[in-house]
């Protein structure tokens, strides 16, 4: 059976699809998360030498890098759904944008929080106005601003469009964070975040890092789908398909 891809852009169709997929994404998140944490804590060296020596506290890397990557990626997703909504005027696109944003805000907070708790033992300070820390903090405010703007406008479709514009404008922060490493050569200046490459990282540490990032990504799918289902019901509460759907699910 061939279906046009717009088929799933109808909230009534996507509602069921999202519901069927959520448990799988949650299960994947838990399984890959546990494997990665086991690997990160038991298959890695306790201390790292080299130019940037680290003691056991470097194990914060798994949750820190994972949440920092997700904070940027989910912002791209929010802006992407917002753009699709503005271009095609599809309601579901806006609903997806609003569904992803709270999870993105949580990961941004987590990146800042774990960064502080890694910075204290490693750099001797909880916070510094280093370019990367500062731009990540601005990203957090962007998420909060996006959600606040959306909830401040009563009319859902106006709120969708206004917040979508803000999300797209705010997209400039993502490359800023990505390239915000103020010191290309650590011998010439003191940089907090230094340039790193995948090939320099110990394979076991990289595995734990990528694994936990994948788990966070699967978790984000699950929470976005859970949230979008509630948003669909909230906005379409008085339609007949909602009544029929809930009867089918056996909800009274």
């Amino acid at each position: 059976m061939k279906r046009h891809w717009f088929h799933f852009s109808a909230p009534s169709t996507f509602y069921s699809l999202a519901g069927r997929m959520t448990p799988w994404f949650l299960a994947l998140a838990v399984i890959t998360g546990l494997i990665s944490l086991y690997w990160g804590f038991f298959e890695t060296p306790d201390r790292l030498g080299g130019s940037n020596p680290q003691k056991e506290y470097y194990r914060i890397i798994f949750v820190h890098v994972g949440s920092a990557w997700m904070s940027m990626w989910l912002y791209v997703v929010v802006a992407g759904w917002s753009a699709l909504g503005l271009v095609f005027n599809t309601r579901l696109s806006y609903m997806m944008a609003v569904s992803v944003a709270p999870t993105g805000a949580i990961f941004t907070f987590l990146a800042l929080f774990t960064g502080a708790f890694w910075g204290k033992p490693s750099w001797g300070t909880w916070w510094d106005w280093d370019p990367r820390l500062t731009s990540e903090l601005v990203l957090f405010f962007l998420y909060v601003g996006y959600l606040a703007l959306h909830s401040a406008i009563d009319d859902a479709r106006r709120a969708d469009r206004a917040a979508a514009l803000l999300a797209i404008v705010g997209l400039v922060m993502v490359p800023v964070i990505f390239w915000s490493i103020n010191c290309p050569d650590p011998n010439q200046c003191a940089a907090l975040h230094q340039r790193s490459s995948m090939s320099d990282i110990d394979g076991n540490i990289l595995f734990g890092m990528l694994g936990l990032t994948f788990a966070f990504w699967m978790y984000s799918f699950a929470t976005s789908f859970m949230r979008v289902r509630s948003i669909i019901l909230e906005r379409e509460a008085d339609t007949t398909w909602v009544a029929e759907q809930l009867q089918k699910e056996g909800v009274r």
Binding site: R47, E56, R59, I106, L110, F117, L233, V242
Partner: protein, 56 residues
Amino acid sequence: MMEFLAQGGFAFYVWSCYGMAVLLLASEILALRKRRRTILARVGRLKRMRDAEEQA
């Protein structure tokens, strides 16, 4: 086991991070479940109101 929990004396930093991660992610799931129960209750009320109107 104690050695694992101690993390070379950095237990406070390491476990604060993982604790905060678990706390936030679990709270989000719980909040989402609560939000779903709330909207289901509202849709149920709406349906009963409509049914009552039809009978009247």
